[in-house]
């Protein structure tokens, strides 16, 4: 009945699992020690050109990886954990899975199937920056061998897997925006979204979404498309503006973040003089409330958000501030 399964027929050894310390074993009732003839074969993964996978790779830059393992050999292994496999023969094709693991989040991402490559090759695109990551490859192939009873056979799986530890360098600037509420007045938010996502080669681009009465965008979103994501993101006055009165009080909150880690010490927001280049603040910066009546505004003021991630990628977004006369 369970002939096909790679089972552990002996009861688990040692103390039962402590589910407080190993909660992932909840519901698991089998031993970790295989008793079937299920060989684990070494696997090496490297770059297409034969070189080792670098310890640091770059976000969104595809890597063509190759897996080298005897699981693709014409004949299957003859031994499993020092036990001889009687008359082994392959019984199916190799099933292959590639993953990219972000150990910081303990989350993995399935590498998409890549057509046109050999079965032992895969294009892996590390889309998640991380200081601790790994590319892993897992393969299994069904093998059949002679059972002790004459004329009968059994099935098990040869397995081959490996991981290569990598760091993924963040090349995407932060995606920060602002939520602005006018005291006793309208409110609204704007935030950039990387589009197209995971774009490479650089530069990266983003659409900026505006929502709320402050931007005449109630129950809808106004989108400014195709800004270069970086330190010079300027929304034109004919596209969207923040409309205020000279004596308004603005309550401001930062929304959004970075795809890895924001450098909070470098985060700045407020009102600045003109758009482009290094923002020259007018009035207080990083204040939750800005009282416009206390500021002498320039001719063309902008609301700005200036964010940098820990890798140094910087995003500065300028949105025109229009004061009603």
């Amino acid at each position: 009945m369970f002939g096909s399964m790679v089972s552990a027929q002996e009861p688990p050894q040692g103390a039962p699992a402590n589910l407080e310390k190993t909660p992932w074993l909840k519901g698991v009732e089998l031993s970790p020690y295989p008793t079937d003839l299920t060989p684990t074969l070494p696997l090496a993964i490297y770059l297409e050109n034969g070189e080792a996978i670098p310890a640091t790779v770059t976000e969104d830059v595809p890597l063509v990886l190759v897996a080298d393992t005897a699981i693709f050999d014409e004949t299957p292994p003859t031994h499993a954990n020092d036990q001889e496999i009687p008359n082994p023969r392959w019984d199916a094709a190799v099933a292959v899975s590639w993953y990219f693991i972000d150990w910081e989040k303990n989350q993995n991402f399935n590498a998409s199937t890549t057509s046109g490559l050999a079965a032992n090759q895969m294009v892996v695109i590390p889309t998640t920056p991380t200081g601790r990551g790994a590319v892993t490859c897992h393969m299994a192939r069904r093998l059949r061998y002679d059972a002790p009873e004459p004329g009968r056979s059994k099935v098990s799986y040869a397995n081959s897997s490996a991981g290569r530890d990598v760091r993924v360098l963040d090349i995407t600037p932060p995606l920060c925006g602002l939520e602005i509420t006018i005291e006793n007045g309208k409110s609204g938010s704007f935030w950039p979204v990387e589009f197209p996502p995971d774009k490479y080669p650089l530069p990266k681009t983003a659409n900026v979404y505006f929502s709320g009465g402050l931007f005449d965008a109630v129950d809808k979103e106004v989108v400014v498309e195709g800004l270069e994501l970086g330190s010079n993101m300027i929304v034109a006055a004919e596209q969207v503006t923040v409309k205020v009165a000279a004596d308004d009080k603005l309550n401001i909150k930062v929304v959004g973040g970075d795809n890895h880690k924001l450098d909070n010490a470098k985060l700045k927001f407020g009102i600045c003089n003109a758009a482009g280049g290094e923002p020259i603040p007018v009035g207080p910066i990083n204040e939750a409330t800005i009282d416009l009546s206390g500021i002498e505004l320039p001719d063309n003021p902008y609301v700005f958000i200036d964010a940098t991630d820990v890798t140094g990628n910087r995003q500065v977004l300028f949105v025109p501030l229009v004061v009603a006369k």
């Binding site: 009945m1 369970f2 002939g3 096909s4 399964m5 790679v6 089972s7 699992a17 310390k21 190993t22 992932w24 074993l25 909840k26 519901g27 698991v28 009732e29 089998l30 031993s31 970790p32 020690y33 295989p34 299920t38 684990t40 070494p42 696997l43 080792a52 310890a55 954990n81 199916a92 094709a93 099933a95 899975s97 993953y99 150990w103 303990n106 993995n108 399935n110 199937t113 200081g131 601790r132 790994a134 892993t136 897992h138 393969m139 299994a140 069904r142 059949r144 059972a147 009968r152 056979s153 059994k154 099935v155 799986y157 397995n159 081959s160 897997s161 490996a162 991981g163 530890d165 760091r167």
Partner: protein, 439 residues
Amino acid sequence: MKKFGVFLFVFAVFFSYAVVISAQEEAADAAAATEESATTEEAAEIPGSVDMTLEMKPGKFVMPANFRGGDPDRGLVNAVEDVFYEQHEHSILYKEDAGEVAEGATFEGDPNITWDTKVKDADGNFQTVSSVNTNMAGNGGKFFAPGEYQIGNGGARQVGGGEGAENVTTGDEGEEGGEAGGGNQTDEALVGENGETAEGGAKTVTANQAMGVLVHDVTAPDMWIAFQEGAGNVDMAATEQELKNKMVEKMVANLGRPFSQKAEEFEDASYVFIDEGTADERNLEPWKKTARLSVAGALFNERGAPKFESKTVESKPLDQEDLTSQIHIAGGEKEALKGVFVRRNVPFIFAAMSVDNGNNRGTTAEVACRIETADGKEVEKDGAAYLFRVPNYPREEYKDQPEYFFVSKAMDKSGNLTTVRMPLYIVNIQAAFEGGRNQ
């Protein structure tokens, strides 16, 4: 005496040297032994991968190896579609202590666990159906379509060795002269070859296992039946082929569901649709399975009024041991499908097709169907079409006329059945159906 004193002095000096030399040799030996010990521990390198076990949890619907007459050595778990199954897996990589992975090793965090389901395609290759990163060694789910699957589990965990190596190489605590101590060696002691260890000294170790599952079909096939009347000099043979072609095209494109619910789109031909139903009616457990019967067109009521009607019908177990099921549509006066009503002296043709979830409704198969009398005798075509010259409806007025039945039967490869047996009535209608006038 003086000479003896000199001898004693020389002996003492020699002995002292000997003792010193001996002590130095012992120290050197101890150091060498400790170094050897350290080297031995360094040799206990963290492996790239370790073994894993994987199993389907026993359950009522984990079927025996010879299920449905299968080869008991096939080596696949026999399962049925649409039933919840649980799997579990284990590895030393998931234990609390990393000592079994490598002596002195430590786990640097929780494992990363992914359950991967692949289905075997026509070329024998495995295509990914789902890949779920649950980080749990137990998993459960349903197979929504029959086929050969491979369940794979990929596990990974970061393993470090710093402290473990340090403890081994430091030697006895409190012992002076700890020159053999590991100290600074620890960061490198468990670094794998080729720079496998990432910053922080941890290395990703993997484990992998798979099992094959043969998922059996327990759903009756979908069936479409089309009736089309001819008029004038229409080539009924050509019409029949066109009708079949249309059904082939639309049945696959609509995955067995009716291609329209608008009565006006069934003016050329009338259809009976029997399928697994709407999205929320599909993939029900075998003991809850239903089908949906839809009738569309003008030939399913005595007035010839165009309509589209639909209702669910029960699916019944056909074979308790093989878990096959049957949908049977019995037409009649008190049934959802009263019967098919054709006009006397008007030639008509019919055709029936089926699709099955056994191949994801990817191809059609022609269904055996015929008109027979109450005693099961087949009624032959009159040339290229069926033609009846004498009415038999209403039955009370034409008791002397024979009863006719339309019967059809579709069976999939697994033995699931869809059958229809409904009365065929010949009505005395002279005018067009659209007028609804029955003379």
